[in-house]
Amino acid sequence: MSSTLKPLQFKPLNGVRIVVWSAFAVILLLLPLAAQSSFALTLLCLTGIAAIACMSYNMLLGQAGMLSFGHAVYTGLGTFVAIHAMNKILGGWPLPMWLIPLVGGFAGLAFGALLGFVTTRKAGTPFSMITLGVGELVFAAALMFPEFFGGEAGINSNRTGGTGWLHGMGLTFGPQIQVYYLIAIYLFVCTAAMYAFTMTPLGRIANAVRDNAERAEFIGYDTRWVRYLIVMASSFFAGIAGGLTALNVEAATSDLLHGVRSGGYLLFTFLGGVGFFFGPLIGSVLLIFSLVVLSEFTKAWQLYVGIVFLIMVVYAPGGFSALLMLNLRRVKYGEWRKMRWPYAGMLFFGLIALWGFAAVVEMAYQFQVAAGSGSGLTVAKIPLDSAQPVSWMIAVAVLIAGGIGFEIWRRKFAKVWSDGEERIAEAVKKAEAAIV
């Protein structure tokens, strides 16, 4: 699915911009109405926090081209500093609870300045390796300083404490809905701030450093300094996400600093798409969905996520946001209707193949991990028995059948797609020639 057309840009005109941001605000305002249970509300809160964390990660990856394996350090340290600040408030500090995320933010900034000095000593691949090392360093150090990190049990606090006028009026953050709206406000403000950042000189030079660090030096910029500043900006917002976590969960444990968490930010931000500003927003939804919802349905969720990730890296490195934009462009040029049948065909056989694959994986898990609870299981309501060879044969057969069907439709799809791309390229050329 390659194209020589100009890459997609999401460039709404000014009027459209106001509409988009207003719609964003309204959606955030009204989302809780769609949440039918406290579980759903919790999901919304987690997603909001993850969105800030993923967008802050994309400042590094998408904007500046810096692949970090240690982002959880900044969110995690933000949480720890915030939780201590919360306890200080409970002990009498005259700081309102709703400023705690900002405390986390400044903690993130401070650690970004400290650790970023070391990590940005080198660029490119060495930088990525160093972030992994520093991430391990901080995680291991957490267990060495129980005074600050609370050892195995972590540090606890309570968000309903504190004094102040708003607190007296009932804004205690006891009810989850109050926490949601705090998260929503921070999300809106942080999104706006990070978006505005992309349109500033520093933001644009970060793009230049991403595209061609060497040339950036020759146009007068110390690329090391640019990368250092970007790390600090990114850590600031990461710290805000960490501070919100402290409020939301009222606890801070050392697993917040673990490398797996950093990997999660990387994985899901990439899945959402690093080339568009709203990509990480999609990524955060996928993150929480996989972590909280998918994990309830299957023990193999990490395997599925990993495989989806591999497929995306090879076939759609722009992520889901890029796929969305590609299809929207099709709509704009009137080419989407032709895609209906190929998409339908791929979807149908894809789902069949997916069932077969899931059946194999789930049976393997049943066999290996849950052997104690018997060998029966259901995959999408269809019963199987991991101890019976018949089940295995069915699963493999379905997988193969689905795979073949998928491949047939994929080839049809590829043909229709490339034909459409040619027609779109023609249309764009005509439009350009008309400008002169």
């Binding site: 030079i205 020759f218 146009i219 007068g220």
Partner: protein, 255 residues
């Protein structure tokens, strides 16, 4: 303050045991246009890399407006007013033409690392970029990502990025490389237009370009400058004829 825009004294450069530049002396006056010619492997690109700070000389001194620039990083040298283009196009591939030029103008416009003002509100910067874009004749490709331009459009952008910073000493490394005859003529005209009043050093192979553009020609052979004089004197120099020009001149039919 020295009268020379650029002064190289006994500059040498070796990579391991291989000596590429074996002692170059060159003094370029302000506002002068110098063409650097020489056979392949003579060290022309290496010389540019030394002057612009990409590599450090093994010995010798390089002075820009009388100030020593050895050991300075490329960005420091760029800020002092020396800009260079690359033989192999070195642009910001995912940014548009306009953004490429705007980024190149950013530091010298005083913005540096600021992040509290949006780019769209920086009128002076944007006007300057628009003017630059018009002068290199890429106005109608304003929003096209650089990677999608044609080859000669990219070469024009390459020159545009180089002069965007407002530097007064410009190094162009084979700007017309890979261009057809007609494209080259147009391009030389463009270069002359946009480098008025600046000190220009160009590495070139096309003799037509060289003799048409240059005030003086430096001939680099095996890492040494064997002649540095006006075009006519260089053409008549027997050393040059022996080392380099002879066959080429006959073929072109001297201008």
């Amino acid at each position: 303050m020295s009268a020379y825009a650029l002064e190289l004294s006994n500059v040498t450069k070796s990579f391991g045991k291989t000596a590429i530049i074996r002692g170059v002396n060159l003094a370029v006056n302000k506002g002068e246009r110098v063409a650097v010619i020489g056979p392949n492997g003579a060290g022309k690109s290496t010389l540019f890399n030394l002057i612009s700070g990409r590599f450090e000389p093994t010995s010798g001194s390089i002075k820009l407006h009388g100030n020593d620039i050895i050991g300075k990083r490329p960005y420091e040298i760029s800020r002092r007013g020396l800009a260079r283009s690359f033989q192999i196009t070195n642009i910001f591939s995912r940014l548009s033409v306009f953004e490429n030029l705007r980024c190149a103008s950013l530091y010298s416009s005083g913005q540096k690392y600021s992040f509290w003002k949006p780019l769209s509100k920086l009128d002076e910067l944007n006007d300057r970029t628009e003017a630059l874009m018009a002068s290199i004749e890429l106005k109608r490709r304003r929003d096209v990502p650089a990677s999608l331009l044609t080859y000669s459009e990219q070469r024009a952008l390459e020159v545009g990025i180089t002069i965007a910073g407002g530097g007064d000493v410009i190094l162009l490394d084979e700007p017309t490389a890979g261009m057809s005859h007609s494209e080259t003529d147009r391009f030389v005209h463009l270069i002359r237009k946009v480098t008025v009043g600046k000190t220009l050093l160009t590495v070139e192979h096309d003799m037509g370009v060289v003799f048409g553009l240059a005030d003086r020609i430096a001939v680099l052979v095996y890492g040494e400058v064997i002649a540095f004089d006006t075009p006519d004197k260089v053409r008549a120099d027997p050393k040059v004829q022996e080392a380099y020009l002879g066959a080429v001149l006959d073929a072109e039919g001297a201008h």
